[in-house]
C-alpha cells in the first residue's frame, strides 16, 4: 500500500482538487484507491468528490470505535475510488492515532491523504501517516515560497519520495515569458516535478457538479500525473500552448 500525502503549505493552491482527480484517475487505471481527508475541521474532500450527502461515519467515529474504517469509506460516484471523510472538530486527534487509522485501511493500493494548509499540527498529523509526499504549488511567488518551507520540513520525515505538482500553469503566459515554467519552479524548489496541471476553467465549473469532463484541458495532464505516480516515474513535459486550428474559407 502506497501512502501519499498531498500537501502545500499555502492554502487554496489545489491540494483537494489534485487528491480527488489523481485518485479518480488511479482508480480508473484499476488501482484500489482510498482518499483520506486529513483536513480536520475544514474538510471538503467530501464536497469536491460530491459524496457529502452519503457520509454516514467519519474519521472521528472510527477513532471513537463507533465503526470500522471499512464502514466509514464512502464510494465515489464517478470512479471506483473510496473516500474516508474527515470529522468536524477533531483537533485532538494525535498523529499516532491518525497513522494507525491509515494503516488499518483495508485492501488499498493507494491511499492519498489530503493535507490541511499550513505547517502546524494538522500538517504533522497528515505527513506522519504517509511514506511519500506530493507538494502542490502554483507558479506564484507566495505559493512557491510556502512550498519551499514545506519541502524543507518534509526532509525531517524520511519519506521515500517527495515530488512537486505545479498547478494552474498558463502555457500561453509561460511561452510569452510572463510566468515561470515548471522547470523554473522545480529548480527553485530543488524537487522534481511529477505533474504539471494547466489552469482550467472546467475544473472550477464542473467541480461542484461532479466529475470534470474528458474534454477538459487538464485531463491529459492528470493522466500523465497518474501514470507517473503509478509507475514511480517523473516524466513531465512543459505544458504547451494549445494551437488554435486555422480555418480556411
Amino acid at each position: 500500500m502506497r501512502k501519499i500525502v498531498v500537501t502545500s503549505g499555502k492554502g487554496g493552491v489545489g491540494k483537494t482538487t489534485v487528491t480527488a482527480t489523481l485518485g479518480r484517475h488511479l482508480a480508473d487505471m484499476g488501482y484500489r484507491t482510498v482518499l483520506v481527508d486529513a483536513d480536520v475541521g475544514l474538510n471538503n474532500l467530501d464536497v469536491v468528490t460530491g459524496v457529502e450527502s452519503r457520509v454516514v461515519y467519519d474519521i472521528g467515529d472510527v477513532l471513537a470505535g463507533r465503526c470500522t474504517v471499512w464502514q466509514a469509506l464512502v464510494q465515489d460516484h464517478e470512479s471506483a475510488a473510496r473516500v474516508l471523510p474527515s470529522t468536524n472538530g477533531g483537533e485532538e486527534i494525535s498523529a499516532q492515532a491518525f497513522r494507525a487509522l491509515v494503516d488499518a485501511i483495508p485492501d488499498a493500493d493507494f491511499v492519498l491523504i489530503d493535507c490541511p494548509a499550513g505547517i502546524e499540527k494538522g500538517f504533522h498529523r497528515a505527513v506522519s501517516a504517509a511514506t511519500e509526499a506530493i507538494v502542490v504549488t502554483t507558479p506564484s511567488a507566495s505559493a512557491i515560497r510556502d512550498a519551499d518551507k514545506v519541502v524543507s520540513l518534509l526532509s525531517a520525515y524520511r519519506l521515500e519520495d517527495v515530488s512537486v505538482v505545479v498547478n494552474r500553469v498558463r502555457p500561453d503566459m509561460v511561452s510569452r515569458g510572463e510566468m515561470m515554467s515548471v522547470e523554473d519552479v522545480c529548480g527553485l524548489l530543488r524537487t522534481p516535478a511529477v505533474g504539471a496541471i494547466p489552469e482550467d476553467d472546467c475544473i472550477t465549473l464542473y467541480q461542484q457538479l461532479g466529475r470534470v469532463p474528458d474534454f477538459a484541458l487538464s485531463e491529459r495532464a492528470y493522466e500523465r500525473l497518474a501514470s507517473n505516480v503509478a509507475r514511480r516515474e517523473k516524466k513531465v513535459a512543459e505544458l504547451r500552448k494549445v494551437k488554435k486550428r486555422r480555418r480556411w474559407f
Binding site: 511567488a141 515560497r145 519551499d148 510566468m179 515561470m180 523554473d184 527553485l188
Partner: protein
C-alpha cells in the same frame, strides 16, 4: 532584448528563498561566530571575520570568508608541534 518577466520573478524568488533559509534566524551571525572561533585558534585576528553567503547561479551558495590576522598562533592543544612556516 526584452527582460522576461518570468526571469525577473525567478531571480526575485531565488533571493527570497535564500533569505528565508539563511537570512533570518541568525544564520549568518551564528556562522560568523563559529568561523571566527575556528580562525582564532589558528590566527590572532585583527578584526572579526566577514562572512557573506549568496545564492549562486547553479542553485548552490557562494560562501565568502574574509579575515585579517596579525599573527599565526600556536595550536593550543598541540603546543609541541613546530610552528607553521610562513
Amino acid at each position: 532584448m526584452v527582460l522576461r518577466r518570468a526571469d525577473a520573478m525567478h531571480d526575485r524568488l531565488r533571493k527570497m528563498l535564500t533569505k528565508d533559509k539563511i537570512g533570518d534566524a541568525g544564520f549568518v551571525s551564528a556562522l560568523k561566530r563559529d568561523v571566527g572561533r575556528v580562525l582564532k585558534d589558528y590566527f590572532d585576528l585583527s578584526a572579526e571575520p566577514e562572512v557573506t553567503v549568496a545564492a549562486g547561479e547553479d542553485g548552490g551558495y557562494a560562501v565568502t570568508v574574509t579575515a585579517r590576522a596579525g599573527d599565526v598562533r600556536r595550536f593550543r592543544t598541540t603546543e609541541n608541534l613546530s610552528r607553521p612556516e610562513m
